[in-house]
C-alpha cells in the first residue's frame, strides 16, 4: 500500500532538495585571501610627492588601509570615489603608487580625489611582490601590529566601503 507511493515520496524529496539548494545557493564565490592573518612586510618606500611622507613600515601602531594604485590604471579611477568615501569616514589610507611619476600622480589626485595620508613610491613593483598582490589596484586592511586583516583583489566594490569601514572601526 505504502510502497506504491514510494516513487512519489522519493521524487518529491529530490525536488524539495533541489528547490532548497536553488533558493539558498551556498556556492557563492567566497574566496578568502590566504594573506589574511599574515603579517604585512616591513616596507620602507620613498615619498612619491613632496607634500607628504613616504612609507616607513606598515605596523604604524594604528589600523589603516594600504592601497596599491597607479595613475596609469583605469580600475583605480573606478575605485577612487570609494576610497574617498572611506577617507571621509576617518580611515587613514596609505597609498603605494606603482611604477609612477610625481607629475602624473599629482594630476591623478587632482582629477579623481585624494584620500591618501601618505604615498610611497614603488618604481619596480617590489612592494607589489612583497605584499603578495597580483596587480593594481589591491587594498589591504592592516591592524596596529601590522597584521593583514582584510584583502581586496582588484578595484573596490561599493559594498566594500561599509565592510572595510566596519572592520577598521572594530580594530581601533
Amino acid at each position: 500500500m505504502v510502497a506504491r507511493y514510494l516513487p512519489l515520496a522519493v521524487g518529491l524529496l529530490v525536488f524539495a532538495f533541489i528547490g532548497w539548494r536553488l533558493a539558498d545557493p551556498s556556492d557563492q564565490p567566497d574566496i578568502s585571501s590566504r594573506l589574511v592573518g599574515a603579517p604585512a612586510p616591513d616596507l620602507t618606500l620613498a615619498p612619491m610627492l613632496a607634500d607628504r611622507p613616504g612609507v616607513t613600515g606598515l605596523a604604524t601602531g594604528e589600523p589603516h588601509l594600504v592601497n596599491l594604485f597607479g595613475s596609469w590604471c583605469n580600475p583605480c579611477i573606478a575605485e577612487a570615489p570609494l576610497l574617498d568615501a572611506l577617507a571621509a569616514r576617518g580611515v587613514p589610507i596609505t597609498g603605494i603608487a606603482v611604477r609612477d611619476e610625481p607629475q602624473a600622480v599629482t594630476r591623478f589626485l587632482e582629477e579623481h580625489g585624494d584620500p591618501f595620508a601618505v604615498i610611497g613610491s614603488d618604481p619596480q613593483s617590489e612592494a607589489v611582490f612583497a605584499l603578495g598582490a597580483t596587480g593594481v589596484p589591491e587594498t589591504f586592511l592592516v591592524d596596529a601590529e601590522g597584521v593583514i586583516r582584510a584583502h581586496v583583489q582588484g578595484p573596490l566594490a561599493p559594498g566594500d566601503v561599509d565592510r572595510l569601514a566596519a572592520a577598521w572601526e572594530a580594530l581601533r
Binding site: 500500500m1 506504491r4 507511493y5 516513487p7 521524487g11 525536488f15 532538495f17 533541489i18 539548494r21 536553488l22
Partner: protein, 646 residues
C-alpha cells in the same frame, strides 16, 4: 517581421496545446468524439512550432542583429553552416528545439500510434499537450528567443570557438530527439494508467518510440563523447561531468525500459515496473535538461546560469513528475499481477538486467548530486571518475556477464542446459583472462575482467544467430545481436584504452623525433596557417610504425571573434587503435610542446558504440516494416467491412 511571425506562431502553438489538454479532459460522449479533434490539433500545433523554429533558423541565416539572441550568439563572419548551428547552440534556441520535438513527437504519436483504446490514446495525447504547454510557457514567459534588440547591434558577439565544429551541428539535435522521444513513453504510460489498460498492446505501442529515442540517445552520447575526445584535446572520451551524466541517466532508464517493455509485450509481466521506468525515463530527460539549464551543477555546458529559469523548470518538473508518480501510486494497484515466471528464464534475466541498470542509474544520480548534498552541509567536494568507475564498473561488468546467458534463455521457465554457444563464450573469456595474466600485462582487476568478459561477449552475442540460419533471423534478433556485440566491443575498448594507453609529452624542435608505444613521430616543422576566421600554428608530424608513414597536423588555433585559442588535435586511426597528437604553446627558439597518446583499441569504443546504435536502428526498422506489413491486410479488411455496411 520574421521574428514577430515566429513569436506569434509560438503563442498560437501554446494556445493549441492548451486546447489539446482541454479536449483530452472531456468525458463521456463529448470525450469519445474529441479524439479526432485532438489528433488534428496535435498536428497543427507541431506545424506552428516548426514555423517558429524555421523563423529562428532564418534569423540566424541572415544574421539579423536586431534580434538579441542572434546578436549575442552569432557573428557576420561565421561560416553559414555554423550560423545555423548557432540557432540551437544557446539556451533559448535549444529550448525551442526541445519544444519543437515535443510537439513533433505528439503529432507523430497522434498519427501513427493507433492500436490503442481511445481512452488511453486521449490521455496520452492530453499528457503530451500538457508537457508541450509547460515548455511553451517556459519559452514565452522566461526565455523568448525572438526578443528584439533596440538599437540593433553593429556586430554579433560570436560563438564559443569550441562549438564551431561539425559535432555541434548534429550532437544537440540527436541527443534532444532521444531525450524528447522518451516523452512518448511517458505520455503513453500516463494514458494507460488513466485508462486502466496496462497490457501487451500498450507495450507494443510503446516499444518503437522507446527504440527510437534509445537509438538517438546512444548516437548522441557517442557523438558527444567523440566530440569531447577530439575537440577538447585532453585525450579522454568520458569525464563523468554532470552534463555527461545528465545524458547517461535517461539512457540507462531507456535501456532498462527497452528490455522490460519486451517482457510486457511478450509475456504481460512486469507491468508496474515498466510503467515506473517509462515515467522515470522522461523524468531523467527533464532532470538532465534542468541540470544543464539552471547552472545548478556548473560546467561548460551551463550556458544559462540563471536560477530564475531553473526555478521555472523545477516547478514544471515537480508538477509533471510529481503528478505522474502520484497517479502511479493511485492507479498501479488496479493493474493485474503479471504472468508468473521462474528466476532462470528470459524474464528472470531481463529482471536482473533491469535491476542492475536501475542500481547503476541510482548510483550515478547519487554521485552527480552528491556535491550538492555535501555543499548543503558546508563541505566542498567533487565527485569524479574514481567514484563512478568504482561503483558503475563492477555492475556494468556483471551486466556484461549476464549477457552471456540472458539472450539464450527461453521465456517463462524452461531451463535448458547451457548451450554450446554460451560455453564457447565462457571459454573465450577464460582464455583472455589467462592470456592477460600469462603475458604479464600489469593492469587493474577491473581492466582485466573487462578485457575477458568483453571478449567473451563478442562470441556470446553472436550465438543467437548461429542457432538458426542467420538470414532467417528476424530483424529484432539481428538488432539485439548487433547491440550486444557492440557492448562486447565497447567493453574491450574501454578496458584496453584504460590499461594500455601510452602518453608522451615532449618539447621538440624541427627534426626531432619522439616515440610513443610502437610509433615513432617526427616533428618536421611548425607552419602558420590561416582559416576563414582563425589563424593557427600547425605542427607537421610524420608518424611511422614499421613500414609506411602517415602525416598528422595538430593545430594550436586562435579564433579572432571572440579571441580564444583552441587546441585542434590530430588523429591517426588504425584498426587497432588511434594515435592522438596535440601541439601546445611554443616558439622557434624554445621548441614546441608536443603531446602524443597511443590508445590501443580505442577504436573498439567507437565501433562498439556505433554497433549499439545500429542494433537499435535495425530493430526499429524491422518492427516498423513488420507493422506496415501487418497493417495492410487489416486496413483492406476494414475497408471491406465499411463497404459492406453501405
Amino acid at each position: 517581421m520574421i521574428a514577430e511571425l515566429g513569436h506569434a506562431a509560438l503563442w498560437l502553438a501554446a494556445a493549441l496545446a492548451g486546447l489539446q489538454v482541454v479536449f483530452a479532459l472531456l468525458r463521456g460522449q463529448a470525450g469519445a468524439a474529441a479524439l479526432p479533434a485532438i489528433r488534428a490539433i496535435a498536428g497543427a500545433q507541431a506545424l506552428l512550432a516548426l514555423l517558429a523554429f524555421a523563423a529562428l533558423l532564418h534569423l540566424f541565416w541572415v544574421t539579423d542583429l536586431s534580434v538579441a539572441l542572434v546578436a549575442t550568439h552569432s557573428h557576420g563572419d561565421k561560416l553559414p553552416f555554423y550560423k545555423l548551428a548557432a540557432a540551437w547552440g544557446n539556451h533559448e534556441g535549444s529550448m525551442l528545439l526541445w519544444v519543437l520535438l515535443l510537439s513533433g513527437f505528439g503529432a507523430l504519436m497522434a498519427r501513427f500510434a493507433r492500436a490503442l483504446e481511445p481512452a488511453v490514446m486521449r490521455g496520452a495525447l492530453g499528457m503530451q499537450g500538457a508537457l508541450a504547454l509547460g515548455f511553451y510557457a517556459f519559452l514565452l514567459l522566461s526565455s523568448n528567443p525572438f526578443a528584439r534588440l533596440d538599437p540593433p547591434a553593429l556586430e554579433g558577439r560570436g560563438l564559443n570557438p569550441l562549438l564551431q565544429d561539425p559535432g555541434l551541428v548534429f550532437h544537440p539535435p540527436t541527443l534532444y530527439v532521444g531525450y524528447v522521444g522518451l516523452s512518448v513513453a511517458f505520455s503513453l504510460a500516463i494514458g494507460a494508467m488513466l485508462g486502466g489498460r496496462v497490457d501487451a498492446a500498450l507495450a507494443r505501442a510503446m516499444r518503437p518510440w522507446v527504440l527510437l529515442s534509445w537509438t538517438f540517445l546512444t548516437a548522441g552520447i557517442l557523438g558527444g563523447s567523440y566530440w569531447a575526445y577530439y575537440e577538447l584535446g585532453w585525450g579522454g572520451y568520458w569525464f563523468w561531468d554532470p552534463v555527461e551524466n545528465a545524458s547517461l541517466l535517461p539512457w540507462l532508464a531507456a535501456t532498462a525500459l527497452l528490455h522490460s517493455v519486451s517482457v510486457l509485450a511478450a509475456r504481460e509481466a512486469l507491468r508496474a515496473w515498466t510503467m515506473a521506468l517509462a515515467l522515470i525515463g522522461f523524468a531523467m530527460s527533464m532532470l538532465g535538461t534542468f541540470l544543464v539549464r539552471s547552472g545548478l551543477l556548473t560546467s561548460v555546458h551551463a550556458f544559462a546560469v540563471d536560477p530564475e529559469r531553473g526555478t521555472f523548470i523545477l516547478v514544471l518538473m515537480a508538477l509533471y513528475v510529481g503528478g505522474a508518480l502520484a497517479l502511479f501510486g493511485a492507479r498501479i494497484a488496479q493493474v493485474r499481477e503479471g504472468a508468473p515466471f521462474a528466476p532462470a528464464s528470459r524474464e528472470g534475466a531481463l529482471v536482473a538486467n533491469n535491476l542492475l541498470l536501475s542500481v547503476i542509474l541510482a548510483l550515478v544520480l547519487f554521485g552527480t548530486f552528491y556535491p550538492l548534498v555535501a555543499e548543503a552541509f558546508g563541505a566542498s567536494i567533487s565527485v569524479g571518475p574514481p567514484y563512478f568507475n568504482l561503483v558503475a564498473g563492477p555492475l556494468a561488468l556483471l551486466l556484461v556477464a549476464l549477457l552471456f546467458v540472458g539472450p539464450l534463455l527461453s521465456w517463462k521457465r524452461q531451463f535448458r542446459p547451457l548451450s554450446k554457444g554460451a560455453a564457447l563464450a565462457g571459454c573465450g573469456a577464460l582464455a583472455m583472462l589467462v592470456a592477460t595474466i600469462a603475458l604479464g600485462w600489469s593492469m587493474s582487476l577491473l581492466e582485466r575482467l573487462g578485457l575477458a568478459l568483453g571478449a567473451g561477449l563478442v562470441i556470446a552475442s553472436l550465438v543467437p544467430l548461429l542457432t538458426r540460419k542467420p538470414w532467417r533471423a528476424p530483424a529484432p534478433v539481428w538488432g539485439m545481436v548487433l547491440a550486444h556485440l557492440g557492448v562486447g566491443l565497447l567493453t574491450v575498448g574501454i578496458a584496453s584504452e584504460s590499461a594500455f594507453t601510452k602518453e608522451r609529452l615532449a618539447i621538440v624542435q624541427p627534426g626531432d623525433q619522439a616515440s610513443v608505444g610502437p610509433w615513432l613521430v617526427e616533428f618536421r616543422a611548425a607552419v602558420p596557417v590561416a582559416g576563414p576566421n582563425w589563424t593557427a600554428i600547425e605542427a607537421d608530424l610524420l608518424a611511422s610504425r614499421g613500414a609506411g608513414a602517415a602525416r598528422l597536423a595538430p593545430q594550436q588555433r586562435l579564433f579572432n571573434q571572440p579571441a580564444t585559442s583552441t587546441s585542434e588535435s590530430a588523429l591517426l586511426t588504425r584498426w587497432d587503435g588511434q594515435l592522438y597528437a596535440t601541439v601546445g604553446q611554443g616558439s622557434a627558439a624554445e621548441g614546441w610542446q608536443l603531446r602524443l597518446w597511443w590508445k590501443p583499441f580505442v577504436t573498439f569504443i567507437w565501433a562498439g558504440g556505433l554497433l549499439i546504435a545500429l542494433g537499435g536502428l535495425v530493430s526499429l526498422v524491422g518492427r516498423i516494416v513488420r507493422a506496415l506489413r501487418e497493417a495492410r491486410p487489416a486496413r483492406a479488411s476494414a475497408r471491406y467491412r465499411e463497404q459492406r455496411s453501405w
